[in-house]
Symmetry: D3
């Protein structure tokens, strides 16, 4: 099964790991993944990808809002702040330089945690150790599912940490997602 961690590998301890996500929004599956990763590294770099995007259907939240969500959620989960760093990284749109760009923006790391095929391939082509990580209840704990539920007015609060739910409400994130859904123009220009 795809999301089973290869335990043989992960008995190894690493100095620093990298975990890449867009976190639109940050949810309980991410918390689970971070807990698992932290069992195997001394420090984890959490990369907030597509950092320049916001206010679109796939990327409703700014990088700053996402950093704030993650910070609040990890505090709520009692995860030691000396164990992780949160680094927003913009898209470079050139796959051949994406990994070197991430490397230039982060402290040195020796393992990458990801289940995504392209991310995995790009790091492997540069000789990085890549580990799959089990996401808890993958189908539910997905950002796509959460945005869909928000749109349809169904329960989404149970899929995110309490602090994230509160923050989403406070920044009017629910209205934002709904308004973006009726916009027919992703660049903000009138037809």
């Amino acid at each position: 099964m795809e999301s089973i961690v290869r335990r043989d590998e992960l008995t190894t301890r690493f100095r620093r790991g990298l975990f890449v996500g867009r976190f639109q929004p940050f949810h309980l599956g991410h918390i689970g993944a971070i807990r698992t990763a932290l069992e195997h590294v001394e420090e984890l770099i959490i990369v907030v990808g597509s950092a320049e995007y916001s206010h679109s259907d796939k990327n409703p939240f700014t990088a700053g809002e996402r950093v704030e969500m993650i910070r609040a959620a990890l505090k709520e989960a009692n995860i030691d702040p000396s164990k992780y760093l949160i680094i927003p990284i913009r898209d470079v749109h050139i796959h051949a330089t994406w990994v070197p760009f991430i490397v230039s923006q982060t402290p040195k790391f020796d393992v990458v945690f990801t289940n995504e095929a392209l991310t995995s391939r790009l790091f492997k082509e540069r000789e990085y150790k890549v580990e799959r990580i089990p996401f808890l209840q993958r189908d539910d704990y997905s950002a796509t599912e959460i945005r869909k539920r928000i749109l349809k007015g169904r329960n989404w609060e149970s899929l995110v940490p309490k602090s994230v739910a509160e923050l989403l409400v406070k920044i009017h994130g629910i209205e934002r997602i709904r308004e973006l859904a009726v916009s027919d123009n992703p660049t903000g220009a009138e037809k």
Copy 2:
């Protein structure tokens, strides 16, 4: 009904207004919208959005051609040239800085006229006053409809000012729209 102007609001007079569009092409609905806006402001800034794009199915005309269309159409409509400015603005692709970028490229304004959901939200998040504006016969007077009619060889001339129809013919715009429709390659490269 969504495209009815909120008259209570618009009894207020503003110093300068902003009206954003792509104008691919400029049509009679735009003329109607500009006339309405001009009843409520001393001066109107007409922003030609997605200014760097042209020669694609959604953006067939260059910003320069669009500026020329608007200039000719407003002259034809006897709209006083001291009442408006036409400013082309490129897409910045970062929604979080789109409004500040527009603000940096235009004289100070105090109201924004738009019916588009994202445009409206981005300006409101920065505390700008945003007004809806009634587009006359919205379904017909749409640039998408006009491009579709040009493609299908149906009557489109009645939807645009006479001067715009003449300009489109003069710059071979009809052929351009038809040729772009059969191109399978938006970046201009052969497969």
Copy 3:
């Protein structure tokens, strides 16, 4: 003498002319140049170059502020608003595509007014007609001289239209120029 207009050439009338400047700030020399140009064209496109820059020692004002200056000054000078267009254009940084980019952002023109060597060469290489234009009292009526006088607290108001002087004061432009002069860091970052 370099700044004498070649009258033989300029007896020709052109349909539309282009006049490129950065206008940091717009001054009486520019007014003189525009008046001269307007004797030879039906319509003049005033390009506000380096449009994305502001808040630096060479480019203190935003494109929007510069458009507002030009608009106010031409109104003060009673120049017919149907005779000119003001188009802000960002730097493309690739000289080989600078002229085609300007062409794509402006209505069709058939003559370029400039005294600047590179601007002149780039348009001539693309077969555009380029005309020199006499700037009145060139040494004084220069934007560099005006910024220098503002910095040193000497009289600069006599070099710009009254409306520009008022606008500069209203937007706190004097303080801005002086503060930028003591900044040791053009990208806004602390060392």
Copy 4:
């Protein structure tokens, strides 16, 4: 019929021709096209378009890998290396400056070989001579078809030069295309 060369035109000899493609991958149809073009020019510039893209479903290979394919295939086909140049060109995303950008990156040329509608239009608008070129067995000899066959595990080797097939295997290109097909995320970021 569209892919028939207009022989009347092509009896003319040109000094230097331009042939634009993405070559994802380079195949036997391209070889045929280059042979035909070389009958009519002294030297052919082969432009590798979308040069900055790789590791995506439509653009699996880097420009460097594509240059290496073309070089090897033309050697295998005994085409004289003094007769062609291979120039990678990135997308500029602004159609209005795409042709001037290509012109700035290549030696002077006097004819363009292409069957693509937009490429053809953009060059013609700048007064370049554009010639259609017959692709051998167009339906099969298409890069899209080859990528599809690789994905489905069907025979693709017969559609490309032997040297290209070997290179694709050597750089693990087959696995790359298959892995990219299951990636749900073109920017390399985890959801």
Copy 5:
């Protein structure tokens, strides 16, 4: 005196503060500044500016190396990791959108600590509260001074935290600064 903190202001407590620097390299003056700032805020966002630059005389270190320096130095100084966030931010080169871009990449903040004139002006123009902060022994504790000493082989270790000195040696930063000084070509291209 310029570097004296305005104590009347700073008796106020803020929720979150922003401190911008390039940190080339991070030194004892920065530690002092951060300690002072932390007396007045619950959390401090440390922005690593010019994040995309490295390997140049003014910006020898990558953002990742700078993040690692700061992290190590703050740990060495026993500063509570729940009290700060480190966010690398690239230059946007458009001063008019620099502050909105920073705002989009960081959690909400209500005070900015800076002594730099342009940084101060840009935040004040957007109505942010800006506080000066006393740098200890400013002339010595400057990154420019440290890079100069490294070049000249004079003592620089006493100006940075011990952990930073160790990291600089470990990543061969001393050699890097010296080699960059003899490069005559900032873009890495041979003449």
Copy 6:
């Protein structure tokens, strides 16, 4: 002495080498360097750096003009066209991704020939083999010296291949260099 080749190293034969230059213009020193490099590799990739720049004092010629110079000069020097490739590469302005970008745009290489300090360091940091290469009569055979001589009207023709001298004259390169020298405005905008 710095420009002496380390003969012990260069007894090794490499598969493919990389030689980076801006070639403004291409001169006899470059020919000498290429001849030397070709003694040690089967194929040489000649990278034309800063490819997007032209019409400035340091970069007067377009990449296309430079490719044409190199092609003509190597033909004049009877260098086998199957032995080299010419690849224009734009500046990426991010030193940390410059080498990976070059690698993505070129066929695989196993040695880099350069005397430039930064180029050398960036390739060495990525574990590439870097070789110094003796430039013949370095002081004279420098592009800077040639541009200076052209400006001052002194003999420059003896420093470049005959075919390059002819091409420079044909494209009016001499006038271009002289006109650019009197331009006070590198971005082509009037002050």
